[in-house]
Amino acid sequence: MNWWCWKMKTTNSLLAWYGELSTRGNLLKRGFLLLMPGMLWLMLFLVLPGLVLVLVSFATRGTYGQVEWAFTLENYKRLAGFSLFGWTSDYLLILWRSVMVAFVTTLISVILSYPLCFFIAARPERSRYLWLTLIIIPFWTNMVIRTYAWFLILSPEMPFARLAAGLGAIPAGAPLYPNAFAVYIGMVSMFLPFVTLPLYASVERLDWELVEAAQDLYASRPRVFFQAILPQTLPGLSVGIILTFVPAMGMFVVPDLLGGAKYMLVGNLIQQQFGPSRDWPFGAAISMGLMALTMIGLHIYRRRGREVTVL
């Protein structure tokens, strides 16, 4: 158990610490000295800016794009779709779309990751490292470069765009972007390794005897997967889902390059407010919306996660 558990119920009583006799207050002073620079940094550049962002989301945009400190709920109303001209679903649609894109991206990544993990786990030991490295390399390759690469592959001169044009899906000579399809292609290829790598750590440790036992007892294939394999791989899978779903919701590069104005996600909307539109209060309010979605996602996930582990 934690070595400090037996300690010091009372403050500043004498205590033995690593063989040294000291007081709790004394130790905390020393610990504080170690903690302070890092914590001060996080307070100054993370917590404080976060609080300022909350404040700004209730402020007003001045005529020249400056922030005016007049308290208002206008930004949130606008996000919810209320404007001078009545109600529109534009912004809510973008939020909803971001959640859906993140969800579908995660789902596809999980579906593709399982076979890939089983495949790698079944390789002989030497080549297993090679295959894993093959997954790790895209994991670390810059996202802008990988998106750029899809830009090239989906361009009009490449066979895929020609095939699509031949089938009549797009006009001849047009690229396969910007559209929803390109966004999904880009997102899945971006986040697939984020699921595969943690999942593999679990698949490698899988107890195959349980799987064989299930098969011996004539469990159907889906049943073998859901009752013998899935529960065992849950730790890795949950890490992978979190690593994919949360950043996918705030993704900005892929939808910006491959989605265009027609398939905007919340990341683009935020960027627009801080960039060209120069409407910081509204941008802050959208960021709060994204933050809320992230928290809801993590919360649902945690509750569900607990239920599954109890089973």
């Binding site: 620079p37 300022v52 470069i145 935020i270």
Partner: protein, 271 residues
């Protein structure tokens, strides 16, 4: 279960191909002599040579490197001290929980929220000091802010795996705090610190969003440069630049793998 269903093999190979097809495409077209279009016109390294004549690109490369090195050094020092201070001192449960939460924020939130918060904060700080004009100092601050957490997490997992026993032994032999840190703790922690620093370094090279929000006109980095270039259309020179960055990534990944495996080996050999 050593053999896979053919369907599993097929799906896996297709998935790997899906990951690599675009990257290989870029590499292939970076050595294509054709200036425009996708027709193969013969092998050339011309585009790579041109990169080294392009002042913009050289400056962006320099900025990227300077940003990554400076922010990694700061984040590694801060993160390591933070990890030791948090895990090795008798903090109360509530304090520990609170500090833990703050430390996890950058890992959990989408990076665009951190970027937005920094833009707003720097905007206000600019009223106080001109250091906070968009530019390299701001980008360094932004990068350190998310790197610290990752360094601290990696170092903490190492702290947990070495356990408190060796430090206790050093203490029992009357080592002072400074001597214990220097002679016992840091050597034992070194693999964790190096791993944390490497993670921080790659995260910095990899970052686009934080840089995009905090960069000024004179502080272009390579990802920002490529992003802007895509808008103007794909060119062989950008293919070459991207391929070069990919190659550097491959080398870094292989080096890290080798390092990790070696340190694992020495660990098992010792025990």
């Amino acid at each position: 279960m050593k053999r896979n269903h053919p369907l599993i093999v097929f799906v896996s190979l297709a998935t790997v191909a899906f990951l690599y097809l675009p990257l290989i495409g870029v590499a292939v077209f970076s050595v294509n002599a054709a200036r425009r279009g996708m027709v193969w016109k013969g092998f050339t390294l011309n585009w790579y040579l041109k990169l080294f004549e392009n002042e913009w690109i050289l400056e962006a490369a320099w900025n990227t490197l300077a940003l990554a090195v400076v922010s990694t050094v700061i984040a590694t020092v801060l993160g390591t001290a933070l990890a030791i201070g948090l895990d090795r001192y008798p903090w109360g449960r509530a304090t520990r929980g609170y500090l833990d939460t703050v430390l996890h924020i950058p890992v959990v939130i989408p990076d665009i929220i951190l970027a937005a918060a920094l833009v707003v904060a720097f905007g206000l700080l600019r009223l106080v000091s001109s250091i906070f004009e968009p530019g390299l100092p701001n980008m360094i601050i932004g990068h350190v802010t998310f790197q610290v957490s990752f360094v601290a997490l990696v170092v903490r997992s190492r702290l947990a795996s070495i356990g408190p026993e060796v430090e206790e032994a050093a203490r029992d032999l009357y080592a002072s705090t400074g001597f214990m840190l220097r002679a016992v703790m840091l050597p034992l922690l070194m693999p964790g610190i190096v791993a944390g620093a490497m993670l921080a370094f790659t995260l910095s090279l990899d970052d686009f969003v934080i840089s995009f929000f905090t960069a000024g006109p004179d502080s272009q980095t390579l990802p920002l440069f490529i992003f802007a270039a895509v808008r103007r259309g794909v060119t062989p020179q950008i293919h070459a630049l991207s391929t070069l960055v990919m190659l550097i990534t491959v080398v870094l990944v292989l080096a890290t793998e080798r390092l990790m495996r070696d340190s694992n080996k020495s660990k098992t050999a010792k025990s």
